[in-house]
Every structure is written in C-alpha cells, then in structure tokens.
C-alpha cells in the first residue's frame, strides 16, 4: 500500500528538503543499506532517515544526511516493527 508523507526539517538535506513529499511503500519487499525509510521511533516519533546498517534480527541503524541530524547513537537500533514504509519516490519542492 502506498502513502504520501511530507518532509519537515533539514537533516536529510541536500537529498530531501523541507516541503518535499515522498511516496512510501508500506509493503516493501526488502530493506537494504542506503534505502530511505520512514519509521515510528519510540522517542522521535515519525522520522525519515537513511539505512546505514541492518542487524541480523532485522532492526535498522539509521542516519541523517548531514551534521544537523540526530545522531545514530541517540536513535539506537530501530526494530523492524517500527518501519512504516520504504521511500520509493520523491517529489521535490521548487527551489526558492
């Protein structure tokens, strides 16, 4: 099932910017390192991040795209159950 979500914040710049939209697939076949995912984090709620590592139990180690992002150590391993979807398409806002 596909969903559209709006990006808020700058920690995924320049890849994603405030105001961009992304289409996520809730029934993703397989997450790989480098994929962008939307998760429901226990502390930070709904986030969009890049997958940096994948644990053997399926949990994800996530990272932002720049130094403004919350650190991976602060996010911790994110369980597979908290993945809301994999980003399959980005609709970028017009540059100002």
């Amino acid at each position: 099932m596909l969903s559209v979500v709006k990006v808020q914040g700058v920690s995924m710049a320049p890849r994603l910017k405030e105001g961009d939209y992304v289409v996520i697939n809730r029934f993703y076949p397989r997450i790989k390192v480098g994929h962008l995912v939307v998760v429901d984090h226990a502390t930070y709620q709904h986030m969009i991040k890049r997958v940096q590592k994948i644990n053997s139990n399926g949990s994800l180690w996530l990272t932002g795209e720049n130094e403004n992002s919350v650190r991976p150590e602060a996010m911790g391993w994110v369980p597979e159950a908290r993945i809301l979807g994999k980003v399959i398409f980005c609709i970028r806002a017009k540059p100002e």
Binding site: V7, S11, D20, Y21, T43, S69, M75
Partner: protein
C-alpha cells in the same frame, strides 16, 4: 508542477509529516527526567505491593494493578530514553574522557530499567534510582556543577542527587 499538485492535494487531505529530525541542538539536557521516572518506578511498585497486601482482591483491584503495571512499563521506558538521549546527544569525546565508565553505567541503567519492567520487587527499583543518581552526578560533573543528595519530598522519599546551582 507535480509538486504543486501534491501541495494542492496536501491542503485537502493533510498528508502526515515526517521529521527529517533535527537536533537543534538546543543544549537543554537534564537528568532529572530520568530521576523522576526512576522514582516513579519505585512508587508504582509500592502501590502494587499495597494491593497485594490487601489479601482478597476484587475486580477493581485487578483493574488498578493493570493500570499500575502499565504506568511502570512507561516509567521504565522513560528512564531508558532520557538516559539514552543524554548519552547519545550530549556526551561526546570530552565527556567520555572525563567519564570513562559512562558506557558501562548507561548500559547498566538499560539493563536495570528492563528488570524494573519485568519485576515488582522494590529492590530492583531502588537499584535503578541508585544507578540513575550515579548518572546524574556524572552528568553534573561534566557541567562543573556541584551536587548534593537529599530525600525527595514526596513518595517514595528516596535519596536523589540534585545540582547545587547556588554554589
């Protein structure tokens, strides 16, 4: 054009927002959140014990125990998250140099908070409060703030490490 279309649809359907989460960073860190959550664990364990000691329990008691256990679960999780945020966002190389035992202490708090989820034994809660107090003392050391210990003025009336901001 496509973005404009999505923007129009967004106005009508209100797409969910996801945070490309940004640590401002605001630099507001305080271990008191973790300390209050740890004290809550002990208090909730005490309240569960009060119901257990009643002997014959009715449905009302079972309902209350369910609520207390749920809150204890939340409080234990809150201890973990509050400590992890300080360890993950605030502690950096200079702090780790000053606190060589920080990783072990943080991990011990995670383990003890898990025990508090699994147990209703007050001793486990007291151990959690001790560890979180140790973490708080370490945190204030990195800030150059003196600390003192005093019994908190509400149940469970356990000793808590407080920053001495008047010093």
């Amino acid at each position: 054009m496509i973005h404009g279309l999505f923007k129009s649809i967004d106005k009508a359907l209100h797409f969910k927002t996801v945070k490309a989460h940004c640590d401002i960073p605001c630099k507001i860190y305080d271990p008191s959140t973790a300390q209050l959550a740890a004290l809550s664990c002990v208090r909730l364990m005490d309240l569960i014990k009060e119901i257990e000691d009643k002997g014959e329990l009715g449905v009302v008691d079972y309902a209350q125990v369910a609520r207390l256990v749920s809150e204890k679960e939340s409080a234990s999780t809150e201890v973990k998250e509050a400590v992890r945020i300080i360890w993950g966002d605030y502690f950096k190389a200079p702090q780790f140099d000053q606190l060589p035992h920080a990783h072990e202490l943080t991990h011990n708090i995670m383990l003890q908070a898990s025990k508090c989820k699994q147990s209703i034994t007050r001793e486990e809660g007291e151990k959690l409060v001790e560890l979180v107090n140790e973490f708080a003392a370490a945190f204030w050391l990195t800030k150059g703030v003196e600390v003192y210990t005093a019994a908190c003025p509400y149940p469970p009336a356990l000793d808590v490490v407080y920053p001495d901001l008047k010093a």
